[in-house]
């Protein structure tokens, strides 16, 4: 077999028993039956209810906190302020900038000041209303651009820059000299609320030995353990954290809020000796938790008359609100992806993560990528317009292909399916036909079509140590338990780990069970973020499975009197590869292992190779592999009212390897609609630092009536890192839809909206301006 046909077979997934199969998730039955799974469902009956008193102003000195009348409300058991914290009053994810409870100052609306524990929620609520906080208002800075000015209000003493990063490749001035056309535009994006259907919730109780157990809705139990231990002033091993079934997360449940809910519950439990639960209201959640960073992106792009990109200069500024959360990492990813997936010889990018007195932004699916792709892809269409080219042709002249270099001069490897994604998405969407059909349409309801392309660096890259531990246990009755502190919060990725383990072990999936993530039984494993579970966790699962397989085969070989290397596990049997009669049941080998005290508990550990990007030179490898994709959106614009409807969307992604195409489609579809909301309707509005629409009655997310006809195309160019070549696919589906919609609206109306979301007001004003 030639190497090419071998690769082809590998691509087609030939020889896999389970990889690439549309398998059911392992956690489905409890969910469809509505069993009590989530934190609030399993709270102890005697748990105290917690109410948090939060700042109502964006920037102020706290002159006094009067809790006297609140204390008198019958049923109130404890009122705690910063003075009652026995450990360190910090609840940060990255930079030590955020107290759990404010002391002398509040820097944004919604900052926690006091916590009240009562027998029931109504009492806690009533007492909360009676806490009087005396503020001395300070001037607030609520625009990241204003925050950059030297005389701006300082949010923190160290200044307003939470992170700065640059890229310098080639000589940007030379690049612009080579350009025949240069365009310059400013793009803006908004706060997007993640709106997991289950708001933040955590609970805690004391154990008899004085240790604390926390249960909550979260992505990363070990972050919670560290955070709670810090606040309580005890050793982390005295804090046990268990992830309850989590009703959606999308990022914010990885960094700060699960620390808040669990730490506040633990403080109350310690003070009162009673279990305590803190469940955010939706209103509270929308103000307090982290949202998608708003960005201001100034782009200058140069190209030759025949459409070769020569230079890109970008200023990328994010608004992280009053506290950094993971903003400094979000800006890194944004900076790396700011050019879009194109070959540009001369690049200059400056990226700033700025503090303001707005509410906190942080981790959110996409992590800086949707913002910069919106800008870069809008810019490509503006450039195409200026060059009088088809936007698809302009892109195809410049896209990343194997052998080209990214903005940081990383060599693009063979695992780059961008061209195929663009080709297949545009074919399926009938790009050329539709463009001709829509051109020259002057009716009131005008149709348009837009395209956007992306690349998405997988996993953490330079954002952190990229490792995972996965434990696999074969029980005496041959059930296999997969256990890890990586968490399930909706994606199905943990079922994917079981699928990878089953494939590697040669066992059927119905033997598999998933254990609850629990710091008492799972090794610390890094955060469950950045679509890491399959790519990095999957490798760890493979390693654990290989170790177990090795043991099974050695014991099997002993039973069959042959070499372990001549055996395989298939269909519940351990059999000789050449002589099918020499066989023993898997069950028998497992029993034998237990009899001989051969442990069938194994841990797989995997750490991704380091990326050699250096901040100093701003060049090098930023991520070990990339996901690529193309989205084509069609819109219908009511040119009298400005209302945009999206009748059709076509997406193609190079996923490396589809482990479970059914779950993968679920990720792509869900991400597309979350991003459609981002593009068309979602905006958490701050007025002078105060959130104006923190309810789902005022902040709209897409319903079943808002979704377009959708086609998903899966392209597979196996990546270098992920198991079986799998690439990250949790986050990438949110990167492009807003950009494709913006380009479709510009195609329909002839006038561009430079700011998300594409509301009727903005679309209409752009149309009017062009007239």
């Amino acid at each position: 077999m030639t190497e090419a046909t071998l690769l082809q077979k590998l691509r087609e997934g030939e020889g896999f028993a389970l990889i690439g199969k549309r398998l059911q998730r392992l956690d489905a039955l409890g969910k469809v039956l509505g069993l009590p799974l989530y934190t609030s469902d399993i709270a102890p009956r005697d748990a105290l209810k917690i109410k948090v008193v939060r700042s109502t102003v964006p920037h102020a000195l706290i002159k006094g906190i009067d809790t006297e009348s609140a204390k008198k409300v019958p049923g109130v058991l404890a009122i705690l302020t910063a003075h009652d914290i026995p450990g360190i009053n910090e609840a940060y994810a990255l930079l030590p900038d955020r107290p759990l409870l404010a002391t002398a100052k509040v820097r944004c609306q919604g900052e926690a000041i006091a916590i009240i524990a009562a027998e029931d929620s109504e009492t806690a609520e009533e007492a909360g209303d009676k806490v009087r906080v005396e503020y001395e208002r300070l001037p607030a800075v609520t625009s990241p651009i204003e925050a950059m000015k030297p005389d701006a209000v300082r949010v923190h003493e160290g200044g307003n820059i939470a992170k700065y990063l640059k890229i310098r490749k080639g000589d940007v001035n030379e690049g612009f000299r080579q350009a025949d056309v240069t365009i310059e535009n400013t793009y803006k994006t908004q706060f997007q609320d993640p709106t997991a259907l289950e708001p933040e919730v955590g609970m805690a109780w004391l154990e008899k030995d004085g240790s604390v157990t926390c249960v909550g809705s979260m992505q990363t139990p070990y972050y919670v353990q560290t955070g709670v231990a810090r606040v309580l002033g005890i050793s982390p091993d005295k804090v046990r954290v268990i992830q309850a079934t989590t009703g959606g997360a999308f990022g914010p449940k990885s960094d700060e809020m699960p620390v808040d809910t669990c730490a506040m519950s633990a403080l109350v439990a310690r003070k009162t000796g009673r279990p305590a639960i803190l469940a955010y209201s939706r209103h509270e959640s929308m103000i307090a938790h982290t949202k998608r960073h708003p960005f201001v992106i100034m782009l200058k792009t140069g190209a030759t008359n025949d459409g070769r990109l020569t230079a890109s200069e970008a200023l990328v500024v994010s608004d992280t609100g009053a506290y950094a959360s993971l903003g400094p990492l979000v800006i890194i990813r944004a900076c790396f992806h700011a050019t879009g997936p194109y070959v540009i010889p001369h690049v200059k990018t400056d990226a700033y993560c700025m503090y303001t007195n707005n509410t906190m932004a942080g981790s959110f699916r996409g992590f800086g990528s949707p913002q910069v792709h919106f800008a870069a892809e809008s810019q490509m269409d503006e450039l195409a317009k200026k060059l009088d080219m088809d936007p698809l042709d302009l892109r195809m002249k410049n896209i990343l292909r194997p052998g080209t270099l990214t903005a940081t001069s990383q060599l693009v490897d063979e695992a780059c399916g961008l061209e195929e994604c663009a080709r297949r998405a545009t074919e399926a969407a009938e790009w050329h036909t539709r463009r001709r059909e829509f051109a020259g349409d002057r009716s009131t309801f005008r149709r348009g079509i837009g395209i956007a392309l992306m690349y998405h660096g997988n996993s953490l890259g330079p954002e952190g140590n990229d490792y995972a531990y996965v434990h696999v246990v074969i029980k005496p009755d041959t059930r296999v338990v997969v256990r890890t502190a990586l968490t399930e919060y909706g994606t199905g990725a943990i079922s994917g780990l079981a699928q990878i383990t089953a494939e590697t072990l040669g066992l059927p999936i119905d033997l598999f069970e998933l254990d609850r993530p629990d710091t008492a039984s799972c090794q610390e494993t890094g955060p469950t973020v950045a679509s890491r579970v399959i790519v990095i966790g999957g490798r760890a699962a493979q390693i654990a499975a290989q170790k177990l397989k090795h043991k099974i085969l050695i014991v099997g070989a002993d039973l069959l009197h042959c070499e372990a290397s001549s055996l395989t596990i298939k269909n519940g049997l351990v059999s000789h590869l050449q002589d099918e009669r020499r066989t023993v049941t898997f069950q028998k080998v497992v029993e034998e292992c237990y009899k001989r005290h051969v442990s069938l508990t194994e841990t797989g550990y995997y750490i991704a190779p380091k990326c050699d990007f250096e901040a100093e030179t701003s060049q090098g490898t930023t991520y070990q592999q990339y996901t690529y994709g193309a989205v084509v959106a069609e819109v219908q614009v009511d040119t009298e009212l400005g209302i945009v409807k999206p009748p059709r969307i076509t997406v193609a992604y190079d996923v490396g390897r589809a482990i479970n195409p059914l779950s993968l489609e679920g990720q792509i579809e869900g991400g597309t609609i979350q991003a459609l909301g981002y593009g068309l309707m979602e905006q958490l509005t701050h007025v002078d630092g105060v959130v104006a629409n923190p309810t789902l009655g005022d902040y709209y997310i897409p319903t079943s009536l808002d979704i377009p006809e959708m086609q998903t195309i899966i392209v597979e160019y196996p990546g270098a890192v992920g198991p079986f070549g799998a690439k990250a696919m949790g986050e990438p589906p949110v990167d492009l839809p807003a950009a494709a919609l913006a380009n479709a609206v510009a195609n329909a109306t002839g006038s561009r909206v430079f700011e998300l979301p594409l509301t009727a007001e903005k679309v209409l004003s752009a149309i009017r301006k062009a007239q």
């Binding site: 009590p36 989590t246 939706r282 309810t695 789902l696």
Partner: protein, 155 residues
């Protein structure tokens, strides 16, 4: 107050301001009824009351007097799930799962009244329940598929 929940009669003393949601969750221990917003916007607290979908966070418990309520606990069992529960599993349409009890009830209520719904009728029927994970596509497919079983078409 008397009412029937999942086929069982209950007699309870309830406060005049108690929400149906809290009575179901806290007094009858029906934890499948979720609270996602408390303002009637997200629909995760949806239950069926006398054949109609209601947001149990917006209904006072006393309004359920002499009514018949169905919650997710009254639909299907692990041995015999409702056709919609089976197809939601088949399509991996339950991701985080928080909206699923309400989605199952919305789908079931639709099929109870209209065993052969069009795609648009399905979209309309579940439009009161928000889902942030699936983009609704797999849920719609699941209900379409379940309709075939309910209306006797061999799947």
């Amino acid at each position: 107050m008397k009412f029937n929940v999942n086929g069982k009669d209950h007699a309870l003393v309830v406060g005049s301001t108690e929400r149906l949601l809290d009575v179901l969750r806290d007094r009858l221990n029906l934890k499948g009824v979720k609270e996602g917003c408390g303002t009637g916007d997200c629909g995760t607290c949806t239950v069926i009351m006398d054949g109609r979908l209601v947001n149990s966070c917006l209904i006072l418990a006393v309004q359920a007097r002499n009514r018949k309520i169905t919650t997710i606990e009254g639909v299907g069992t692990s041995e015999k799930p409702h056709p919609i529960q089976k197809t939601i599993m088949k399509y991996n349409a339950a991701q985080c799962g928080f909206c699923i009890p309400a989605m199952v009830l919305a789908g079931k209520n639709l099929l109870d009244h209209n065993p052969k719904p069009s795609r648009d009728e399905i979209k309309e029927a579940i439009s009161g329940v928000l889902c942030r994970c699936t983009g609704y596509y797999k849920l719609i497919e699941a209900i379409q598929d379940a309709a075939k079983e309910v209306s006797g078409v061999k799947v």
